[in-house]
Amino acid sequence: MEFGPGFWGPIVATVVMLLGAGFAYLMLLGGRRLTKERPSIAKRSTYGCGEEVKPEEVIADSEQFYSPVRRVFKPFYRYVQPWHSGKLNTYLLWVVIGFIVILVAVALVLR
């Protein structure tokens, strides 16, 4: 495929990526041989601020997973998210507003 400057050879790129992935996997295997990932209970409690945490409890909250991004787009989430509440009258309002916006946009384009 040619897209202006440069080129994209999908088969060559795929082979290179597969080789890269294979190389990375070999490095990972080598790393596992050299280091033993067995933290003692004392270490765990130190890094866990002294708290004993069960493995299944160490799961990131999915809604807060990208909290920095949420902070960046705070106005969006503050105003747009409540409009996705599941209430039918809100949804119908979306549709009515949408129709008016489309009508105005078409009128502007075809004027």
């Binding site: 994209w8 299944e56 799961i59 991004v69 989430y77 747009v80 949408g98 078409v106 075809l110």
Partner: protein, 498 residues
């Protein structure tokens, strides 16, 4: 035989739907409980073969015209098949067939499967009718058939959330189809014809100000079906509450048919390529809102629904650019979206089937228990995020380049940023479902059954093949793009010089 292929492609699933109750009665007598499911699979695969058989006549640039009852247009109803609707018909028939195979096991524990098969065939018949008809009122009728079947399928499980989502979808969808009917009525009052080719010919002589209201009504009506922002609100609730096989059908087949109807009517019938920039802007808003909303979801199916909205934004952007490369990119992404979106919903269904939940906070470490599903989900997630060498990269890249070539580099930049966000929320999903600590209650979870894995594997292979050999995809969509931009050829073929 090939001459009747267009009508066969519509009537096979339609008559199949009417035969199901009889097959159900007979199969109960002979204790062959799953005969309806196998019959549905057979009907849909036959429909796919019939559609594929039209390829030889159409891909060379030809247009097949089938006159119902031998009545010539504009008085009679016609089915007209060009490169554009053949591509859409292939997507609809292909997705429906795979959904039917997947449902063999996925829906096994449900009751009233005969009803499910009837509705699945009706939705397919409706989508095929929308795709192949050359008559705008016929298109509306098939749109209703597809929509009513979809409402019932969303509420199929009869739990409170699915019934609520089904009712919401029905009310908003009915509002949309009413807008379409009103738009068609205004056009009929103005032109006095219902044949798309005849309307296309005569609308060129009408003042632009006269078509504003019918055009806006039709765009809004079809926009609801494709969940274009700001007409998207019904989609996350419906996709989340529907059985995953139906979510896949909605995302892959009905949305595709809705988008086809929109571009056929706007570009081919009204010849309104000037509306393209408006589509591109709506596409950008759709992809941004979909991506940002997907980022914060706790439920996998709801995340996929918002992701589907976002991906439809890419299609609208590509098609809206109005250039040959843009339309090619948009249609290629439409094809790819049907592939990876169906794959991802099927993976969600496999998780739901084995674990019983798609809540991301209740999952984890399933990569060990369901390695094949995990691998297939990763392929789908990377493909939808536009990571090379998968199919999403090829179509998104085409759209980016088309945007730059059309002098709208800012549009391409926004699309690239949204691709990064897509990757971000899918990495969150992969991490939450397949990596990390596995809760004790998930230790005995098994891999999904082979019958469910088979269609998923097929779709994953398509993701890889169309990414590594993108020219295959471009070859598939180039006749569709040529057909979309050949309004005079379509008019001449259908009206035959009238």
């Amino acid at each position: 035989m090939i001459e009747i292929a267009p009508i066969m492609a519509v009537f096979l699933p339609l008559f199949g739907a009417f035969l199901i109750p009889i097959i159900s009665m007979v199969s109960k007598r002979f204790h062959a409980e799953r005969a309806c499911n196998w019959f549905t699979v057979a009907i849909l695969i036959t429909t796919l073969a019939v559609v594929a058989a039209m390829g030889a006549a159409v891909w060379g640039g030809g247009i097949m015209v089938y006159k119902l009852g031998g009545w010539s247009p504009p008085w009679g109803i016609v089915l007209a098949v060009d490169g554009l609707n053949l591509l859409i018909a292939l997507i609809v028939a292909g997705v429906s067939s795979l959904v039917a195979i997947y449902s063999l096991v996925y829906m096994r524990q449900e009751t009233r499967l005969d009803l499910y098969c009837v509705l699945l065939l009706l939705v397919t018949a409706g989508a095929m009718g929308i795709t192949l008809t050359g008559d705008i009122f016929n298109l509306y009728v098939f749109f209703e058939i597809m929509s009513i079947g979809s409402y019932a399928l969303v509420a199929f499980r009869r739990k409170w959330d699915s019934v609520e989502a089904g009712i919401k979808y029905m009310i908003i969808g009915s509002f949309g189809t009413s807008l379409i009917l009103l738009g068609i009525a205004l056009l009929y009052g103005m032109i006095g014809s219902l044949t798309i080719a005849d309307l296309a010919q005569k609308l060129g002589q009408v003042a632009a100000s006269d078509v504003v209201v019918p055009l806006a009504l039709l765009i809004s009506g079809f926009g609801i079906k494709i969940a274009m922002v700001p007409l998207h609100a019904w989609a996350p609730d419906a996709y989340q509450a529907a059985p995953s096989s139906i979510s896949a059908l909605l995302a892959g087949a009905t949305t595709t048919a809705g988008l086809y109807a929109m571009i056929r009517v706007v570009y081919m019938m009204f010849g309104a390529f000037g509306v393209g920039t408006m589509f591109a802007i709506f596409g950008l808003v759709t992809m941004v809102l979909g991506a940002l909303m997907a980022l914060t979801q706790r439920d996998l199916k709801r995340l996929l629904a918002y992701s589907g909205i976002s991906q439809m934004g890419y299609v609208l952007l590509g098609v809206g650019l109005g250039t040959a490369l843009g339309v090619q990119g948009g249609l290629f992404h439409l094809l790819n979206n049907a592939i990876f979106k169906v794959l991802l919903f099927m993976c969600a269904g496999a998780i739901l089937y084995r674990v019983g939940t798609t809540n991301l906070d209740e999952l984890g470490g399933l990569g060990k228990n369901m390695p094949i599903t995990a691998g297939l989900f990763v392929i789908g997630a990377l493909a939808i995020s536009g990571v090379p060498p998968l199919n999403g990269f090829a179509s998104k890249w085409t759209i980016y380049i088309a945007g730059i070539e059309a002098g709208k580099a800012v549009f391409s930049l926004i699309a690239i940023i949204m691709s990064v966000l897509t990757l971000a929320y899918f990495l969150k999903a992969i991490n939450a479902i397949f990596l990390g600590q596995r809760p004790k209650r998930l230790q005995n979870v098994k891999e999904a059954p082979l019958t469910m894995l088979f269609p998923m594997m097929l779709l994953a292979v398509l993701c890889i093949v169309l990414g590594v050999l993108p020219s295959l995809g471009i070859d598939l969509v180039a006749p569709a793009q040529g057909a979309l931009m050949n309004q005079s050829g379509y008019i001449n073929a259908v009206l035959g010089g009238i």
